[in-house]
Each structure stands twice: as structure tokens, then as C-alpha cells.
């Protein structure tokens, strides 16, 4: 079983209230030197069988239509090597 990871992040120009809240909380807890935080989503898809180029293209399709909304989000798809 292989794993494909899809990361979805809000586009840089879109306000990210969650990331902002984290960024504000960090110094209060004594964590300094962090210039900015963005919070996004990580999807781990367990794939049956081999991850062919065709399968990956399919998953990219799913990432674009379902897992992200291109109006506000960017995504990346990558195969995760088993560790």
C-alpha cells in the first residue's frame, strides 16, 4: 500500500485567521523568532496497488476539484516514501 500526500494551503493573498491566531499565540508562550504562520490541510491517501503516473494524475484531479478550492487554495501532491 502506498501513500500519497496532498497538502492544501490558502493562497498567500487570502487571510488565514487560524495561522494568524497561532502566530499571535506563539510569542505569548515564549516562542520567539517566528515571522509568520499559515495553517493548511494535509490529506494522507492510502492507495491500493502501485502509484502509476495515471493514478497520480487522477489524484491531482481529485485534489483540484474536491480536496481544494482553486479560488482560495493551492495544493501539492506527492508520493510519500515508506519509512
Amino acid at each position: 500500500m502506498a501513500r500519497v500526500v496532498v497538502d492544501v494551503m490558502l493562497k498567500p493573498e487570502i487571510l488565514d485567521p487560524q495561522g494568524k491566531a497561532v502566530a499571535q499565540a506563539l510569542p505569548r508562550l515564549g516562542y520567539d523568532g517566528i515571522a509568520g504562520v499559515r495553517q493548511g490541510k494535509r490529506f494522507e491517501l492510502e492507495i491500493e496497488g502501485e502509484v502509476t503516473e495515471e493514478r497520480l494524475a487522477q489524484i491531482r484531479g481529485a485534489a483540484e476539484t474536491l480536496l481544494s478550492n482553486p479560488v482560495i487554495e493551492d495544493f501539492t501532491v506527492r508520493v510519500e516514501e515508506p519509512t
Binding site: L10, L15, P17, Q18, N69, V71
Partner: protein, 223 residues
């Protein structure tokens, strides 16, 4: 006049929307998400709620429901469609309306009686109001921040497609205080606040929301 109210799994305000249609004098027809048939209704309301839990993105999964196929087609052809809250999110995800709705800027769910200004009375759902009229209807959402790029926002403003705007404080960080918008033809309207919860003094803050439903009924009779 028959107004369809769609129920997705996780829809919550479908009963309230149907009640509002009845209070306004229309006949409410319940439509089921898995049934790709609009049953000859004259208009459709996509109600509030948390379709499929809204865990992924609000409205992201519901927009693929079978009922949405004929709905998108009919809406493109001019059928009046009102998306309330989750329904608005579904309309944006379906690209019937531009922009998107994100997490409230204060990151909390907010439920309150919200003052709004009706900015456009030329849509199918707002003709009963006077331009600039202030109304109060409940607002309740966790992801109600309307966002779009500047070009889109300018276009919406320029074409008079901002339908309602928040007044007396922006409750969720929506760009330009936008609470609701319309498509270019004015038949499709989406808004975050809940007019269906303001059709009766007993259970709502007043009856300011009724106009959305009477507007469409009047328009339909006129046709």
C-alpha cells in the same frame, strides 16, 4: 407557486426554509439530494446546515450531489435559486457564484441578530425591499468570511451584484462587509445570514426576512 427546498445529508434549516416559503404564501416542495430531479418547481432554496458535516470545506461535497446537476443547468437558464449560509457555500463551490467562504476571522462560530443593508433590489429574491433598507436577520456560521480577489470584488460592486452588506460591525471578516451576492442575471442569490429565521416575531428577531420569499413569489406571478 412551488418552491423547492433541497435536503442534503446534514442540512439543518430545510424545515425552517420550507416554513418560510409557506408563511410567504408559497408551496414548499422538499427535494432530496440523491434525486436528480427538480420536480418542476418554480424556484429553489438551498438551506443552511452542515452538509456532510462540512469537515472538508463547507459545501465542497454537497456540490457533487445528483440534484445539483439539474439545478446548475436550470439556474444557468434563469431559475431563481437562493442559497442561505451552507447553501451560499454550495453555490460558490459550484461556481454559480464567484468567491468563497472561509473561516470567520475570529475563528469562532457566531450566532447573533445581524443588521444588514439591502444593496440591490433588482434580484429575484430582493425586489420586495427598498434599496438601502436596513433589516435584521439572524446570522449563524463558523465559516462566513466572504473572500474573492480584488478584480472579482470590483466587478461585483460595479455590476451592482452585492445584494446585502453587514452594517454595525463586520461579524466574520468578510471582504468589503459583503453578506450576500448575486449572479449577473440576478436569479441566483447567496447570503450568509438566515432570512428564514426572521419570518415570525415569536421565533425570530422580527419579520424582516420574509421579503426574500415574497420577492420571488411576486416575481413568479408576474412572469
Amino acid at each position: 407557486m412551488k418552491i423547492g427546498v433541497v435536503t442534503f445529508p446534514g442540512s439543518l434549516d430545510d424545515g425552517d426554509a420550507a416554513r418560510a416559503v409557506r408563511v410567504a404564501g408559497g408551496e414548499a416542495v422538499r427535494l432530496w439530494h440523491a434525486d436528480a430531479d427538480l420536480h418542476a418547481v418554480d424556484a429553489v432554496v438551498l438551506p443552511g446546515g452542515f452538509s456532510y458535516g462540512d469537515y472538508l470545506r463547507c459545501g465542497a461535497i454537497a456540490r457533487f450531489a445528483p440534484v445539483m446537476e439539474p439545478l446548475v443547468e436550470a439556474a444557468t437558464g434563469g431559475l431563481p435559486v437562493l442559497g442561505i449560509c451552507n447553501g451560499f457555500q454550495v453555490l460558490c463551490e459550484s461556481h454559480l457564484l464567484p468567491g468563497a467562504l472561509i473561516r470567520n476571522d475570529h475563528r469562532k462560530f457566531v450566532c447573533r441578530d445581524q443588521a444588514l443593508r439591502v444593496e440591490s433590489t433588482t434580484t429575484a429574491w430582493t425586489s420586495a425591499y427598498a434599496e438601502g433598507q436596513q433589516i435584521v436577520v439572524p446570522l449563524k456560521n463558523g465559516e462566513g468570511g466572504f473572500v474573492a480577489d480584488d478584480k472579482t470584488l470590483d466587478m461585483l460592486e460595479g455590476e451592482g451584484r452585492v445584494v446585502v452588506r453587514y452594517v454595525g460591525g463586520n461579524p466574520n471578516g468578510s471582504y468589503r462587509d459583503i453578506a450576500g451576492i448575486a449572479n449577473a442575471a440576478g436569479n441566483v442569490v447567496g447570503l450568509m445570514p438566515h432570512p428564514e429565521h426572521a419570518v415570525d416575531d415569536l421565533t425570530g428577531p422580527g419579520t424582516d426576512g420574509l421579503g426574500f420569499f415574497t420577492s420571488v413569489l411576486t416575481g413568479l406571478v408576474g412572469v
